[in-house]
């Protein structure tokens, strides 16, 4: 039996070695590339789109934010080398994509300007575009934190539903989010407080594993997960400027 199939046993910890899921997919040829591209689009479209809306990036090129991000993915991911370049960049995948999006917007603006017979851009383009992105780092990190948590929740709930254990998500939610005592939840599900505590704990571990998987695909090491989670909490709590 695998560790995750037993609801009362927390899943094993991730190993410390960095095993980049996307690198493995890219080594599998066309089919792997499609999987990797699919994962990137599914996981990053929302935070990038929210980011575009919040900082007005889409308005610069007069495109809807979702359309802009989908256009960016279509343009960049059609190049099989794009994700391979990320692997050697030393950046987190989210930062790589955000920078790429800024470059893509700059390209669109340049195209539009050329069509109108104007000239934009010039020297030190990289620095200009990257500093533009860095200035809005907080907005993006905030959108990313929520998106990653959303994805982890979705994955956990789907896994529980597959095993007909949706009730355990409700127990976890009631206790950890709504603050209902275990004993009270137990009355609803005809379980003892200890049984509810065990199930809620196991779901918490499963959610943690799901988030770990997402963060590792983004390029984090297994040993950095707690630090990553704390920085996600901080970015959510920071003052609105």
């Amino acid at each position: 039996m695998s560790a995750t199939s037993d609801p009362l046993t927390p899943s094993r910890s991730f190993p410390e070695t960095q095993t980049v899921w996307i690198a493995d997919r890219l080594s599998e040829g066309e089919a792997g590339l499609m999987l990797a591209n699919g994962y990137v689009m599914e996981s990053y479209v929302r935070p990038l789109s929210i980011y575009c809306s919040k900082i007005g990036l889409a308005r610069m090129v007069r495109i809807d934010a979702d359309d802009l991000v989908h256009g960016f993915f279509a343009n960049r991911l059609s190049n099989s080398e794009y994700l391979k370049s990320w692997l050697t960049s030393g950046l987190r995948l989210r930062q790589w994509l955000r920078n790429g999006l800024h470059f893509y917007v700059h390209e669109l603006r340049r195209q539009n300007a050329t069509q109108l017979g104007l000239h934009i851009g010039g020297q030190a383009l990289s620095e200009e575009v990257l500093s533009e992105g860095a200035a809005h780092d907080h907005e993006f990190e905030r959108a990313w934190a929520l998106a990653a948590l959303d994805l982890a929740m979705k994955e956990t709930k789907e896994e529980l539903e597959t095993r007909n254990r949706r009730d355990e998500w409700e127990m976890f939610w009631s206790h950890h989010v709504e603050g209902v005592p275990h004993a009270k939840i137990g009355e609803r599900f005809q379980l003892s407080a200890a049984q509810v505590a065990q199930r809620a704990f196991a779901v918490g571990a499963q959610l943690r594993d799901a988030l770990c998987g997402i963060l590792r695909k983004d390029g984090a090491l297994g040993s950095e997960i707690d630090v990553e989670v704390r920085s996600m909490m901080e970015v959510l709590n920071e003052l609105r400027s």
Binding site: L149, F172, H176, V177, G179, R208, D226, R230
Partner: protein, 156 residues
């Protein structure tokens, strides 16, 4: 509360509170008390809860000795294990403890705790914006004082 939320729907309100609590659950015993306190303050009844907790802080101290007395009283309600488990009473005591530290700092710059300046600053930054305006101002002034102390230290 909906257990299938869209966390992006309202990322400064209810969704943020849900996210904070989920992150605390993910960290489990490793969640820092500051983050647990922030999660409690961002809950739907968080503002009301913190106001009630802070309403016990009367009269407002007018000397460093009074702030220290408050801090010591709050400390008696904090049991580390309860705090790490997110116990509401322990969190309430922790909020009062933090307010006493902030109050003393804002009063005349006195640091009445052995906790590191980095940790105090983080607590002031994270919890400060989540509590009632009067205390937000105290936390803000405490943060300014803390920065001044740091600057004095770095020029010595």
């Amino acid at each position: 509360m909906n257990s299938d939320p869209d966390l992006h729907h309202d990322d400064f309100g209810a969704s943020r509170a849900v996210a904070m609590r989920l992150f605390c659950a993910i960290l489990g015993p490793n969640a820092h008390p500051i983050d647990r306190l922030a999660a409690r303050c961002t809950a739907s009844d968080g503002a009301q809860w913190s106001s009630q907790v802070l309403a016990a802080f009367v009269p407002v101290p007018k000397s460093i000795e009074s702030w220290i007395t408050w801090k010591d009283m709050a400390k008696t309600g904090i049991r580390e294990s309860d705090l790490h488990a997110g116990d509401p009473l322990a969190l309430a005591a922790f909020l009062q403890y933090l307010c006493a530290i902030a109050g003393a700092l804002a009063f005349d710059g006195t640091v009445i705790t052995k906790t590191s300046a980095v940790e105090i600053r983080r607590a002031l930054n994270v919890v400060g914006p989540l509590i009632e305006p009067r205390w937000q101002d105290t936390f803000r002034r405490a943060r300014v004082r803390l920065d001044q102390i740091k600057e004095i230290g770095s020029t010595k």
